[in-house]
């Protein structure tokens, strides 16, 4: 990111007006200005051409500046933005359209700088097809194959339908956002905002107006203090089919006869495979049930298995199963807590959004406090939302903490436990105590306010330290 700073700053200082001015200061654009005498129309022409140039230069204003002033003709050639307007080749009142081949009155033709004669109907068909084809319409050119003159925004504005104009402008916006290294689309489902990164802030976590927060770097949900690498491993793990395979391995065995996987969820060791197989076997030793009797320690206490286990003769498959079971349990432990915090956070966001129409109205009525005086409630919720996020990610972190680093693990679990307890207190107070205040008559609102403000501050300071600790200690 740092290497781009110069670039981005430049980008920041520049604006559209500057562009227009640059364009206008050029001595060789006499033809452009002769298109119309009115200043307003000129500005429009410059603006249209400037937006084309910016598109081709991917909004890299400094590069465009340099090259434009170094060799304007070269830039114009590259972008196919001629400075001279070519009139239609004939002076006749009727012209033949190069697409529909109809001979039509002059005013039916749309004048373009290259002078190739196409009637408005055909131009419309041409831009409609191109806009419906996708963002390629932004680099549309004159239909004449030997001519590469760029079709600019003004033509679409003049001839396109409202829907097409809108689409075209959205493609422009999309190109602008997607080319910019400082702006990204918010990845939250259903959100159409773009987010601009403020430089100099030492974090990659950004929050959109939609309340979604994501990591600028990897695009996943914001995950400070856990690094992108751990997050990507964890996300992959959560979605991976590998976990299914592991589950099958841990909780099922293949029928010794037909080899279909069987899950045993309860009951005795006497298994009967489902039809058509119907094979009867012992779950423990996978031997034929008919061979089970008093000699094997009784039908319902197969000691064959126990014997093997005691002697350490469990076959390879069985030990894999054993390992898979314990690793699956570990994963389940962390995943459960990770999702629980995630869900809790989503619920908190809902509660937060409903504040203005719900509890805040009731509180204002009951306490006569002003909106500003009740701000501390929203602040408490914001704190909860942020802490749930941090806490959630500590579980992904915990999962990958090496088993043999006992001290680290112990310290981590202690810190996590403390953080969790602190957050529960705050969440409980914000959720329940305000409600019970509304239901009762004998409580002093000042007490509740003091408690909640205090809890918010303590929780905030605790989590800030926790995050900082994680990040500096590389725990």
């Amino acid at each position: 990111m740092e290497s781009d700073d110069d670039n981005l700053e430049f980008y920041d200082n520049s604006d559209y007006e500057e562009e227009e001015h640059d364009y206008g200061s050029d001595s060789d654009t006499g033809n452009y200005s002769s298109v119309s005498d009115e200043d307003e129309s000129n500005v429009n022409h410059y603006e249209v051409a400037a937006s084309k140039l910016l598109y081709y230069y991917k909004w890299n204003v400094s590069q465009l500046h340099d090259q434009w002033f170094a060799d304007e003709h070269k830039v114009r050639d590259e972008v196919c933005l001629p400075s001279a307007v070519v009139p239609f080749s004939t002076t006749e009142e009727s012209i033949k359209c190069g697409i529909c081949f109809d001979v039509l009155p002059r005013e039916e033709f749309y004048p373009v700088v290259c002078g190739h004669p196409y009637c408005k109907t055909c131009w419309r068909g041409y831009i409609t097809t191109s806009i419906n084809d996708g963002p390629g319409c932004l680099s549309l050119r004159c239909p004449e194959p030997s001519c590469r003159v760029a079709v600019c925004r003004d033509l679409i504005d003049d001839l396109g339908t409202e829907v097409e104009r809108e689409k075209y402008h959205r493609y422009y916006l999309r190109a602008y956002v997607e080319e910019s290294r400082k702006i990204k689309w918010c990845p939250m489902p259903g959100c159409e905002n773009a987010v601009e990164l403020e430089l100099g802030n030492n974090t990659f976590d950004v929050t959109c107006l939609c309340f979604g927060s994501f990591c600028w770097n990897c695009g996943e949900d914001a995950h400070r203090p856990v690094n992108c690498e751990t997050v990507s491993k964890w996300v992959l793990k959560n979605s991976s089919e590998a976990e299914n395979t592991k589950w099958i391995l841990a909780n099922s065995k293949p029928c010794p006869m037909c080899k279909r996987n069987i899950e045993k969820n309860k009951g005795c060791m006497h298994m009967v495979c489902s039809p058509p197989c119907k094979y009867q076997f012992c779950w423990l030793c996978l031997g034929d049930w008919k061979k089970h009797s008093k000699e094997t320690g009784g039908f319902y206490a197969c000691n064959i298995y126990r014997d093997k286990k005691e002697k350490g003769l469990l076959d390879e498959e069985e030990s894999i199963r054993e390992m898979a079971r314990s690793s699956l349990n570990k994963y389940a432990h962390y995943y459960e807590r990770w999702t629980a915090n995630q869900k809790s956070r989503e619920k908190a966001i809902e509660d937060f959004k409903a504040l203005d129409t719900g509890i805040l109205v009731n509180l204002r009525n009951k306490t006569n406090e002003t909106e500003g005086q009740l701000k501390f409630i929203a602040e408490a919720w914001e704190q909860i939302i942020e802490c749930r996020r941090v806490l959630k990610w500590t579980y992904a972190y915990g999962y990958y903490l090496p088993e043999d680093e006992h001290v680290k693990k112990q310290l981590f679990e202690y810190l996590q436990g403390q953080a969790e307890a602190q957050l529960e207190k705050l969440h409980n107070c914000t959720e329940k105590e305000l409600k019970s205040f509304l239901e009762k008559d004998d409580e002093d609102f000042r007490n509740i306010r003091a408690k909640l403000v205090g809890l918010t501050a303590v929780t905030q300071s605790y989590f800030t330290k926790l995050v900082a600790y994680f990040e500096t200690q590389k725990l």
């Binding site: 529909c100 081949f101 109809d102 068909g125 409609t128 097809t129 239909p143």
Partner: protein, 139 residues
């Protein structure tokens, strides 16, 4: 019927294709569907396809000329992203004829043929001549 509201452009193109056909190219619309053309391209002289007659089917979709004509599986840029409504059936067929004079083994339909062409052009040209004689002379 599809023929009843045939755009004037298609009618004009058809008329010109019939009255002043391009050398070595014939294109005539089918009687049932004026958007469907039977095309014959003669193998260009001094190419391995010389003496051959290559039959093609060309179809003008509803969107024509905004969309290109459909012409089997020929790798030709003007039939794809380089199509422009200012091009015509005639220009497309001339391009195909040119392709026979200068095959482009970097954008082939058949990977094997292209490999052969690139590794041993003399032999590949012989094969092309042989196949032209076998399959494209109507003999």
């Amino acid at each position: 019927m599809a023929n009843s509201n045939l755009p004037r452009r298609i009618i004009k193109e058809t008329q010109r294709l019939l009255s002043e056909p391009a050398p070595g190219i014939s294109a005539s619309p089918s009687e049932e569907n004026m958007r469907y053309f039977n095309v014959m391209v003669l193998g260009p002289s001094q190419s391995p396809y010389e003496g051959g007659v290559f039959k093609l089917e060309l179809f003008l979709p509803e969107e024509y000329p905004m969309a290109p004509p459909k012409l089997g599986r020929i790798c030709l840029d003007i039939l794809k992203d380089k199509w422009s409504p200012a091009l015509q059936i005639r220009t497309v067929l001339l391009s195909i004829q040119a392709l026979l004079s200068a095959p482009n083994p970097d954008d082939p339909l058949s990977e094997n043929v292209a490999k052969h062409w690139k590794s041993n052009e003399v032999e590949a040209v012989e094969t092309a001549k042989e196949w032209t004689r076998l399959y494209a002379t109507g003999a």
